[in-house]
Symmetry: C2
Subunit: 154 residues, 2 copies
């Protein structure tokens, strides 16, 4: 399912939030990002939006991102060094991400921890597991090619 600006505006609406100019701009911009499968940092998003409206506030963008993360429209992806970025994901089925450590491209992965493994962990640790995160890091095909033949790309 493709994420459109309308989809995102509906998410705001569903939360009882008003339809405002900044939120429309954000929805538009995220819709185009979704098309490219690109990831972004919040500050970066803010700067991009300033092209459309120089007066848009930083706090406004941060607030919107928080809402969308909570609603699952955006996924927060954390790197091993503690830095992170966001990605438009939509309220789709549960999934995880594989990130290329070279170009930072993000790919969705439907695989997940097997249910019986989770249950085994609960038994072994006496924990009630309520959530989990799985991040995969590696090299995408393009970057493997580029690494093998440095003269060709980038």
């Amino acid at each position: 399912m493709k994420i459109t600006a309308a989809t995102i505006l509906t998410v705001f609406e569903d939360m009882g939030l008003r339809s405002t100019r900044p939120r429309r701009l954000i929805a538009d911009h995220l819709a185009t990002l979704a098309g490219h499968g690109a990831d972004f940092a919040t500050d970066e998003l803010w700067h991009d939006l300033q092209a459309a409206d120089p007066h848009i506030g930083r706090a406004t963008v941060f607030r919107a991102v928080d809402v969308l993360v909570e609603r699952g429209v955006l996924a927060r992806i954390t790197f091993p060094d503690g830095s992170h970025c966001y990605r438009v994901c939509g309220p789709q089925a549960h999934h995880h991400h594989a990130t290329c450590v070279r170009c930072r491209r993000v790919i969705e992965v439907s695989a997940c921890l097997p249910q019986d493994m989770l249950r085994a962990i609960e038994r072994a640790t006496n924990f009630a597991v309520e959530g989990h995160s799985v991040e995969l890091f590696g090299r995408c095909e393009d970057c493997r090619v580029a690494d093998a033949d440095p003269g060709k790309a980038l």
Copy 2:
């Protein structure tokens, strides 16, 4: 295997780093933390160390933590909200962590993504998977009891 101050000092030594007073203090303190299985933030560690030596520098502690994370003596545990803490883990076998969302206690979990799942992901995505992180979040037994009977504990 129990982590001792000597173990940690050996790690510094192995990296060609000098044996200094601050590093000895850090090693000592981490050894006691390892005994309790406690987690900590870097700034917190700094404050604790100031009890032993009021002149120890913040940068020094951050530098030491970086080294030890790189060497696997410390594991960085990231929470869904982006905050994080460290935990003494030692260069043990590969493992992951389950964290109690209520008391933040951390437990080690030996379970991991099955090899064949990783291979299936590589086939499906054309990624060469080089690393991964798995974090489990839930409630430990004590906290479940405490939640069910608020009058009793904490």
